[in-house]
Amino acid sequence: MKVMVAVKRVVDYAVKVRIKADKSGVETSNTKMSMNPFCEIAVEEALRIKEAGRASEVVVVSMGGEQCVETIRTGLAMGADRGLHVITQDSSSLFPLAVAKLLQALVSSEQPRLLLLGKQAIDDDCNQTGQMVAGLLGWPQATFASKVSISDDKESVCVEREVDGGIETIQLQLPAVVTADLRLNTPRYATLPNIMKAKKKSIQRVTPEELNVVIGSDLEVLEVTEPPKRKAGVMVASVDELLDKLKNEARVF
């Protein structure tokens, strides 16, 4: 069985982001970019499924400009078998619906039985792509997965989901879409032998036109601004002053 994992190149989780001067978006030039942490967890899960003997091949797919190749290489360095790169003019026009349509086209040609994604990207926090592609494909979906178990006969998958009320366990017929949440696993480090092997693994390039998908967007980013700065705390000189401020300014009582 083939497993396909979609990964996204985002500003590194540990970087302090800055807004561009024209407020059109976040500064990404000269900023460290890495694989989205949830996508990394999805790749790890795919590899574990393969190591458990439930899958024969793990394909990593990403979309965007040339630099996406680095992110795909990371997936290959972790142990994925093959890469797929959908080249677009630039990454900023790729909103979830466009990505979902592209994934739909790729799924129909690659025929994976399981499509894994991160639950959301840390740059836009959309949390939409997995759900949309499941809808487009007409496949069952399990989002916010904290545990994934493929059945022995590889016909279904049992997923534990983190929901507000607790953990929900559902069973889906394969093929299915699963999106990964934080506690699903701890991704492995890419080891040197795998990093070297990854250089020789193939990354197939394809354009949206070849997939018969038109990338348009119904979304327009108007403005990106920083959240208001935290106001400095106020030092009070006495308990009486504290009570006064709590009562008259904060209106706590």
Binding site: Y13, A77, A190, P193, M196
Partner: protein, 499 residues
Amino acid sequence: MRRILAQRRWTPLGKKWLENCRAYSVPASSKVVRDERFATLDDQDIKHFSGIVGSKGLVVDKDELEVANTDWMRKFKGSAQLLLRPQSSNQVAEILKYSSSRRIAVVPQGGNTGLVGGSVPVFDEVIVNLGAMNSIISFDEVSGILICEAGCILETLDKFLADKGFMFPLDLGAKGSCQIGGNVSTNAGGLRLIRYGSLHGNILGLEVVLSDGTILDMLSSLRKDNTGYDLKQLFIGAEGTLGVVTKVAVLTPQKLPSVNVGFLACTDYTSCQKMLLEARKHLGEVLSAFEFIDSFALDMVLKHSGHRHPLPDAKEKFYLLIETTGSNQSHDKEKLDNFVETVLTQGLVVDGTIAQDNTQISNFWHIREGIAEALGKAGAVYKYDLSIPIKDLYNLVEILRERLGGLATVVAYGHLGDGNLHLNISAPDYDEKLIAKIEPFVYEWTAAHKGSVSAEHGLGFMKAHAIHYSRSPETVELMRKMKAMLDPNGILNPYKVIA
């Protein structure tokens, strides 16, 4: 393992602070006696000091004194009755002028993270803590020259500089607590000396207060100034025995965007040495750190820190942490790839991983930087910081391991790129019999190999007697003369550096 409490009452504050550490006290005064020429504090003195620093600068609270009297390793404990927190260089000057006249001994103190007992009193010396003098005075965004007060915490300075696109040329595990005045006074080396050089090169100017209260303004911020003797160099590394550093002018490098870290496994020490050679050849100008950790050190830090093993399948004896810092990510990646391919083909590394994102980079660094703390949690630790010719460096570790047998665990790590070994012996308790097997053997071995008994930690109190292992008698004699000239009453950090 039972927690051993020394014969002191633990106050609630003390207990909470010392939660994960073990309490041991090595009688600091066992071989040294209090110099009776020093005055004992009286009410007049306290009143006078209060007049200088104000009520908020005067600390007599038992709990706060307990903390300030104890060094980071919990190995040395003084009995200062008074801690002063001056808020300006003038206050420091007045404190020293008065102390000199009264012959009151003082200990200049910064973040109190030193590892040789240099930052705490031996007896009842007054502690002069610079922590309240923590302003950043100026920063020139063109030249990268930063001027700040001695009490600034290293990490705070680095964060300030990061916002402006620069970085502090010094980095060490204690960065969250250590102060720049202390770093300068100990000539701290740290993790990136291999790239940015020592403080002797990066410090452009100092303001120092001498023992008689003279404020020596050498705070020039010129890149080049060959007018007369470069006196500031005397104070860099003098461990507070020649003067108290109050202001610092530093040349800071650009913060370059492309950072890569590899965590690699080698079978033997010879491979580690060859790796250093290859790293210099292939990574050259972008190499910014070259650290080694032996398997005992790695086991220690993984056990006590909760970090996971970067290479769970590797059971090798040596691990290297190699970092590159450069201006162009794709160039550096290419250099790193070539390097990795070369060393893999030559069989110098058997396994390894390259960090794929910043979180992995900081995980690897936390492992290296967490070893000292892990050792502290494991029990008693005898720490040796030695400069040894790189080819002989690990021999000492193996010889000592054999010599000590099952008495203790010998753990080794350090700045291999600088030839600096951090040799640590971990035992359940401090033990006279154990130390007799270690010292003076370690010092003698180091001296025989023309090494230094203190590569970067300084001499402090712990190694005040050991200077002759690494310096000639004539050199030490000249040092004594300088000390006598600059501090005739001997009030600055007595019993330390040169016993």
